[in-house]
Amino acid sequence: MTSKNVRVKIGEMKTSTGLVKNLDISIGKLVDDSWEEPMGPTPMPSLTTLRNWDLTLLNKYKPFYLPDCDLCCLCTYGKCDLTAGKRGACGLNIADQSSRIVLIACCIGAATHNGHARHVVDHLIEKYGRRYPLDVGGLNVKVEAPVTRLVTGIRPQTLGDLDEVLTYCESQITHLLSVAHTGQEANNIDFESKAFHAGRVDQVGMEVADIAQISVFDFPKADPEAPLIKMGIGTVDQTKPVIMCIGHNVVPSVGIIDYMKEQKLDDKMEVVGLCCTAIDNTRYFDRAKIVGPISWELRFIRGGFADVVVLDEQCVRTDCSLEAERVKAPVIAASEKNCIGYKDRTNDPADEIVADLVSGKVPGVLILDPEKVGEVAVKVAQKVAPMRKKMKSLPTLEEIRELAKKCRHCNMCQRSCPQDLKIPEAITAAAEGDYSKLADLYEECIGCGRCEEACPVKLEIHSYILKVGEKKMLSETNYCRSGRGAVQDVEIRSVGGPIVLGEIPGIVALVGCANYPHGGKDVYDICREFALRRFIVMTSGCSAMSAGSYKNEEGKTLYEEFPGGFEAGGVINVGSCVSNPHIAGAAIKVANIFAKRSLRGNYEEIADYIHNRVGAVGLAWGAYSQKAASIASGFWSLGVPVLVGPHGSKYRRMLLGRADKPENWEVYDARTGNKVNVGPAPEHLFQTVETPQEAMVAIAKLCLRPNDTWKGRSIKLSHYIDLHKRHYGIMPPDIHRFVRTMADVPMTMKDEVTKILKEKGWKETVIPDPTLLPRMIRKKKE
């Protein structure tokens, strides 16, 4: 392994040749390359190293742009109107501009994850040293960092190695962001290629963050039986002081939990979390509780459950501090990325800070030392809790009725609601004492608060929804499995064959944010449907919470109903946002461990393998963020299709295949060099689906891969046909495109399928050894 900054210092040494005194040797870099795997062709790729691969995918899946804005306002030439083919003052047209915005979004996402990783790694190196060994799963995980190995060619073994990996990522993000400057890249497809590169770098950064925290904080290490964690505000003992942590970076929470343990207070207080910090808190401390995803921040602060609110970074509502002030909950800002205008008290004595917060002299403070955050948060919570008595800012039902009478029926609340919810009807009914429609909104509302901002008479509509839904909110008691981290090598050995041959019909990963209009029920239903069908279901972040937020008829959550292993019918929570590379890593490890393909700096070959052989699909049902964009981009680059729910259309660019153009679906048969038409498998690389029913059919279809054996294809088609008939009420009319030989046809559906094949003039074809890379052809055609 390569290590940097080696320093040898000798005070005094006697040798046979003489005396050495005060010798100080410093070496910038020492290369210790004991990794036997040969270096592949593309270690530490630059912006253009993998351009040919990107263009291959982008030729197959062309962008379909949905401009969210007709203008470009990024420089002082503008605003430029780019409507319908006009070029702006710098020469860009709307396609270029749309792809440029995609690149910017992916850069923001990649920078956010890499910034997070940099903070975690620097903090841990400072505390534990560069030589601290990485361990993500003991002997069960020898390929500890598949994404990092694949992209950079580095096999990290210590915290110090991660520093070097991040240095590479940071340089790439700087270059990528510079591409978005006025007068740089001039072609939309090249912008797209660079967005793919941002996705690759993003995956590496996330992997670094997670393997660092798994190793040092002793999170579950690739453990299929990671503990079940209590989830929901109903699981919180409100007689105890409550510390609420919001964000993504676990380091300040570790400070809190460690201090509680040192003071033997860990069973006398509650540490609850929202968003990915919640997930990671439970990986560190299994008595921490998850109360909800990002979309419930307003709900729980305004509900008055927190005695202290600790904000770290990413996806933290920027009005959290204002909302906390309303319920007299002191705020600690714990990240330099989110200072909230508070005075930096990092170097002040803890007791002085505590006194100021408890007395209300200041509403919040900035503390950048995680250990001090821990001490202050615990002490403040203890002192404030009896004074606050869980003060809420919710009105009574009678007050709601009176306030609702002020409504002007202007509809601005509905017109401002991202989900177009029927708020005016609910307010009108509430004015007459009927709260049932407000109660219905509790299930649908994503908690953005835009309705309140739009209301001309300042009705606090979200508070009314919360008040009416309060009983339901307090009864929310579910389980989420703590994030397990990586997939074990031995698990890959067990299922690698069935995945590649198609006998396990697919891997479905439900990831991303939780801005779901029905509180995650759709995510639960989709997870359960595919787990029952013996797919491998993977989750992370807020989606993992949503998946655990509902119960079956026996009262079991998904995580109680299904095993946590990487196996057919397993439901796996890999962890927080930064754990997503364990999902990509599982696909990469199938290529490496099962198929024995070399990983090291060998991106194209592995991505080609995954694209043609591993039936994996991502679904981000409620994605909203730039991080979700970069996460998706990392999967596109590996050739893994990603679906988003309806408002994912606002990512403003799809990558769509054209099933009706046979020429788009040719691959090389690596055995012969012949081109073979394999049909639209998978049909799209990035697509918005409109309903959960459409999502289920699309998932089953997108798991088809050219390499499926006849048996595997038959199994996959049976799921596709079954779901299509159930939700669309009809046989899929495109089935002929996916049948290569009659052996592919599911036995029980033979008559129906054969009829369509005859109507369509279907002809048998061969099952190739598929590749998109000419260099992978073993025998050149003469």
């Binding site: 007709d70 396609a95 409109e690």
Partner: protein, 180 residues
């Protein structure tokens, strides 16, 4: 009735939909089109007027006008349950992507549509697809027959009530030979 985007922030720049002031205007455009196509989204079963679902109004309109229907999401099953077979079905993104391709010859292979009529998709999703068509399908005219103003269409009804909507759809249906 207002010609402002229904969702306040869905603003357009310099090219905004002309308002359809009465249903006869929409009828005239549809009659003038050689190859109109009606795209029906998932709200077709989520909206109801006068005790009937939107999809029932649309089936009446499609039967009367003989306009080809493409159903998005899982709506094909809802049409079939009601005894109407749409000309095609595909995801909303797929139909949008085909409409920007001038070489696409329509659902029946007889030529590219010259008029795309949208109704019943989630507002923001329909807005984005209409934006894509405004920018990348310059020869295609687009209409929405929703009751919500869509600035990115070529022509759109202003924001209106459910009663207005029902009336507009009924009048449109009645103006075709097969209408009642």
């Amino acid at each position: 009735m207002s010609c402002e985007p229904w969702q306040c922030a869905e603003v357009a720049a310099t090219k905004k939909a002309n308002p359809i002031t009465k249903p006869e205007v929409a009828v005239a455009m549809i009659k003038r089109a050689a190859r109109p196509l009606l795209v029906v989204g998932s709200n077709a079963t989520e909206r109801s007027m006068e005790g009937r679902s939107l999809i029932d109004f649309l089936i009446d309109f499609a039967k009367a006008s003989k306009v080809q229907v493409v159903a998005t999401a899982h709506m094909v099953g809802e049409f079939l349950k009601r005894g109407y077979t749409p000309a095609g079905f595909m995801s909303a993104m797929d139909i949008g992507n085909r409409l920007v391709d001038p070489s696409w010859d329509g659902l029946d292979g007889k030529g590219h549509p010259d008029l795309a009529i949208f109704v019943g998709l989630p507002y923001y999703m329909e807005a984005l697809i209409l934006s894509g068509l405004k920018h990348f399908a310059p020869d295609l005219r687009t209409i929405t027959i929703d009751n919500l103003y869509h600035p990115h269409a070529s022509w759109s009804y202003p924001n209106g009530s459910l009663d207005d909507w029902a009336n507009n759809l009924k009048v449109m249906t009645s103006r075709f030979e097969g209408g009642q």
